[in-house]
């Protein structure tokens, strides 16, 4: 009986991360900002996207890939406003890159001229944190009804996000939720986190959200042009 040791020294997600980086670079080249929206179920991802699409009607070219375990309900909500493709995961609790790539194929030529591609992840504050979908920006939504103690309980999700959108702002007077407390808790984990309170129903905060996205879209393009010089 003989034995030998094979040294591997590779990160398990190495290939998936490299593929995500390739997609990110390609979309940067096309001038498309990819935004990965993550939250628990019912936090208001689809409502935020509806409000965004209404605000940007005829001004910005956007499309949505939306992930769910079952049904095309979210895609049907969005389709009156923007091109939207439902990605059904068949029970899986998060999206992975191959599903995003299939969604892009279904979008077809629409994707060539997009300014914003939103990926609405499956509602889940845990597993989506571990999967790079090629996004430029990860946005975590937390609604006022979920409680202001959540960031510390889901550190990986908040550490890997660049933006915290506080949704359902209209309910703030009725629930024990402190904007200051949630921002402080989240910034322990991710000190650079941008915090944007919104209400998709009343439209409050949607202008600031859209301005933020426009600004972020310019950034990778500027960096990319600096790199190619």
């Amino acid at each position: 009986m003989s034995s030998r040791t094979i040294e591997i020294r590779q990160e398990l997600h190495q290939e998936a991360r490299a593929a995500a980086s390739r997609l990110r670079r390609e979309m940067t080249r096309r001038g498309t900002l990819i935004v990965n929206l993550v939250s628990s179920p019912g936090a208001g991802k689809t409502s935020l996207l509806e409000a965004t699409a209404r605000r940007w009607r005829d001004h910005r070219r956007m499309a949505v890939l939306v992930g769910d375990l079952a049904t095309d309900r979210d895609a049907r909500r969005l389709q009156p406003h923007v091109p939207a493709v439902q990605l059904t995961t068949g029970g899986a609790c998060h999206l992975e890159l191959p599903l995003v790539q299939r969604g892009l194929e279904i979008l077809g030529s629409v994707q060539d001229t997009l300014e914003f591609l939103f990926i609405e992840n499956v509602g889940n504050l845990v597993c989506p944190a571990s999967h790079d979908l090629g996004e430029h920006l990860r946005v975590v939504l937390l609604s006022t009804t979920e409680g202001d103690d959540k960031p510390g309980k889901y550190p990986k999700m908040f550490r890997s996000s660049q933006v915290l959108v506080i949704s359902k702002l209209d309910l703030l007077p009725h629930v024990p939720f402190s904007l200051e407390a949630v921002a402080e808790d989240a910034r322990q984990i991710q000190p650079d986190l941008a915090v944007l309170p919104v209400c998709a129903l009343t439209g409050s905060g949607i202008d600031a959200w859209c301005d933020y996205l426009n600004f972020q879209r310019q950034r990778p393009l500027i960096e990319a042009s600096a790199c190619s010089e």
């Binding site: 009986m1 040791t5 094979i6 591997i8 990160e11 571990s130 990986k156 322990q188």
Partner: protein, 92 residues
């Protein structure tokens, strides 16, 4: 494997044992090497261990920090044991 890898050793071990059963890897043992969560301050250069997921620099309180270690699972090595002689003495 680090605290932000998103993987719990006990559960990974259980999944590994289920997959290995009945295969060439049956009976193989997973050995985990836990690593600490480390971050570096982009302002003062201090490297520090992140405790309770607080990423602020303990020296200068800067929020501009970068994660150095502890958010991934790295497969370091595989030990292979050739058991053909031991298990198949009749093989020519």
């Amino acid at each position: 494997m680090g605290p932000l890898a998103g993987v719990e050793a006990l559960l990974l071990e259980s999944a590994f044992n289920d997959l290995a059963a009945g295969s060439i890897a049956a009976g193989a043992v997973l050995r985990f090497n836990a690593v600490r969560l480390l971050a570096g301050c982009l302002d003062c250069g201090r490297e520090f261990e992140v405790e309770r997921f607080c990423f602020r620099c303990p020296d200068c309180s800067s929020g501009r920090t970068t994660l150095l270690q502890g958010d991934s699972v790295i497969l370091e090595s595989i030990d292979l044991v050739d058991e053909i002689e031991a298990t198949s003495p009749g093989l020519v």
